[in-house]
Symmetry: C2
């Protein structure tokens, strides 16, 4: 308990991209940081779909938080879940009874997947936010092929071999492309009674196109690349019901229909952490429809300059000089930039200086579609640069490996990938916790 | 369903070392093999303790079974749990209702850990047989340090930092050495309120020495190496009770005493799979006290030459010319040799030739004790060769990596290990499924 009572105490809730960068930005400063997370690891979420599709092992994309900050002596890392925040007493309460008093609070609790009020769909269509989610999805994908091999009824076998991915954002596109590759490239030759390449992969999107954050032309390229892999892309297709064996679809025009399937992945919606609404209730802050907390230009709460909200939990805006404020997209560069920004603002407050409005730098957008294809939309000083295909995939690969935390992880991830690329095999085809 | 009705049908239950080798040995022969396992992977169990101690990821030691046999077209691999065996109808019944008729049956269902009739200890002292077991142990070890960091009561903190390993066989010795290294080499510097190197690791053994399968001198070397790592080795110490916070110990001489601990690992006893007793009941075979099935010299059952039992499930003997039959030790080379032998015997029966009594070749014994030390006892034509220390560890390392299945795994395991060796870090410090 070597805490210095005179030093400003900063509590940071959540060690996603936002909390991680904020904590890092306090290195070598005169504040005491306490970092709380529900897990013991920072998760590199952009590659979580690779764990779910057996391409990477969990440790390849998860770095122990306290290891990351071992050389930053002003950081105390705690495993715990926040129960509540008391803005009057300036104290964070953990579920296990621990109380953490703060002078400055950064809430970076992130988002979870949302079923738009249909939480009863959750058991039939797991989402993809945590490692446990990824293991569950991996188990279901691998198990479906195993069950198909044992199934003698053709109808039932077809349902086991039908994979439905709901949601045409980056996660849905990446999942659909990879499941199609598993069926067509990885598994053929390993079964004796079924032909895995007969599996059907459907990508359902409620809106008019996939990757809606991308320009039209790249959405179209992504759709073409998916279809080349054998994915059936159905846009303007809203899911209206899910049960243990079916997904019910309502197209924008035409009759509703049902898909018989035993493996559904939910990649459709995210909602801010419930901590946002709790915080709003106790501070008087407002939340938007997705449960994100509305913040001031400097990312703090109105009337509570000592509390900031960042990352996916914040409905934040970017204030570039001479431009109208623009919403910050819910992507990892946004969270990282907010993390660094909020640390700087806290240090300014500690130094008695005014805080500064957040400014987001948009470097562009990218998504991958399987082993060889991706779409990239870069924002450069010279304007937008768009490209797709193999070079976009290489760009995507190196960008992701570069940003992966830790030298070790990068090397093994690179080896796993290189080997997966040449052999078309997937390294982590392990199911656990299966009751057969 | 391309099965040829005229070909002899071999069903193999279990894809541990025995089942794996038997299946391989049928490559290119005129029999149809169906291989059933409860999991989708062959597990390299000698390194399971590395997964439990966060040194390796699960996929590094688990190879998908159907991938291993993709190029052996006479093998059908099925995921399933055997419910029962009907020797009259010559049919294996799976829990999901699947029926597998056989002409020849190889039962290689292995062993599980046994609490010597005290199954109520299981929740407090997980064993180490499956990947799920390893995840559970990993979670408990990592969680104990996390909880200690949050605990303010010194007594309670000490209990979180006390690790008890029960059983002084190879697994117990490997676990104790590695937990001590985690405490002293990996974690220091990462905590702010506790000193991980103050953790106590106790290894309890009921018998008079650790590694009882080894010569006396190597047992003594192992004890010394463990104590150098800080492990307290207590032999002649029988565990008489375990609950959520204590282990009760009865020494051979002296008063019983209690150890306050929050993390206990069970490495003390194994029992044969319950399938052994079921099989005995329906075939009239006998089982020994550990539940292993007594087999004929050729590994088949008396009165049922079409059923063989191998590996840890068999109480088998080795028949060397000019020597008394000797029990085969429950180690992986034993299971592998039985697997190959039983396949040969089945092929002899198919060809109308007499079967041959099993002969076990003993190449020796080895165990590791942490990062730098091991004990090796080799059986060579020139007699026994014993050595210990760093070169024993190198020998152990390369032997294990050599036997790991698949080129890919070997490379990444080697990298993970080399990096763990130089950095003293452990790659896979990820907990999942934690409710904090």
């Amino acid at each position: 308990m070597a805490e210095n009572k005179n030093k400003p105490r900063v509590v940071i809730v959540g060690c996603g991209f936002g909390g991680l960068e904020a904590t890092k930005a306090f290195a070598g400063t005169g504040v005491e940081v306490t970092l709380v997370d529900r897990t013991n690891h920072h998760l590199f979420q952009p590659l979580l779909y690779q764990v779910a599709t057996a391409g990477l092992s969990a440790p390849a994309i998860a770095a122990p938080i306290r290891h990351l900050f071992r050389k930053q002596p002003n950081v105390t890392s705690l495993l715990g879940e926040v129960q509540d925040i008391d803005p009057k007493a300036r104290t964070v309460h953990l579920k296990d009874g621990t109380q953490l008093p703060y002078d400055h609070l950064v809430v970076a609790a992130g988002a979870t997947h949302s079923y738009f009020g249909r939480d009863d769909w959750a058991p039939f269509a797991p989402g993809l936010k945590t490692l446990d989610d990824a293991f569950e999805v991996r188990r279901r994908i691998l198990l479906a092929f195993e069950q198909a091999e044992k199934e003698s009824d053709p109808k039932a076998r077809e349902a086991w071999l039908t994979f439905v991915i709901i949601g045409g954002g980056p996660t849905g596109v990446e999942m659909a492309g990879t499941v199609a590759e598993i069926a067509c490239d990885t598994l053929p030759g390993e079964f004796r009674r079924i032909d895995p390449s007969q599996a059907q992969v459907l990508l359902l999107e409620g809106g008019p196109r996939v990757l809606q954050a991308m320009p039209d032309s790249l959405s179209e390229r992504a759709r073409q690349q998916l279809e080349k892999l054998g994915v059936r892309v159905r846009v303007d297709s809203r899911v209206v019901a899910i049960d243990a064996g079916h997904v019910q679809v309502q197209p924008a025009t035409g009759e509703p229909y049902s898909i018989a399937t035993r493996c559904v992945v939910w990649a459709a919606g995210v909602a801010a952490s419930p901590l946002g609404r709790k915080l709003a209730a106790s501070t008087g802050a407002e939340v938007d429809r997705a449960g994100r907390v509305l913040v001031e230009p400097d990312l703090s709460l109105r009337g509570h300059p000592e509390i900031s909200v960042i990352g996916d939990l914040a409905a934040a805006k970017s204030y570039a000089p001479g431009r109208d404020p623009r919403p910050v997209p819910g992507v990892s560069p946004g969270a990282k930039q907010m993390g660094r920004w909020v640390a700087r603002n806290i240090l300014r407050r500690v130094a008695g200086q005014p805080t500064q409005p957040f400014r987001y730098r948009d470097y562009g957008n990218l998504a991958t579609i399987g082993r060889n294809a991706a779409v990239v939309d870069l924002t450069t000083p010279a304007g937008q640069v768009k490209f797709s295909g193999f070079f976009a995939w290489l760009f995507w690969l190196f960008a992701h490996i570069y940003f992966l935390i830790g030298f070790r992880n990068r090397i093994t991830v690179l080896i796993d990938w290189a080997s997966a690329y040449w052999s078309k095999q997937r390294y982590a085809r392990v199911m656990t916790g299966v009751d057969v």
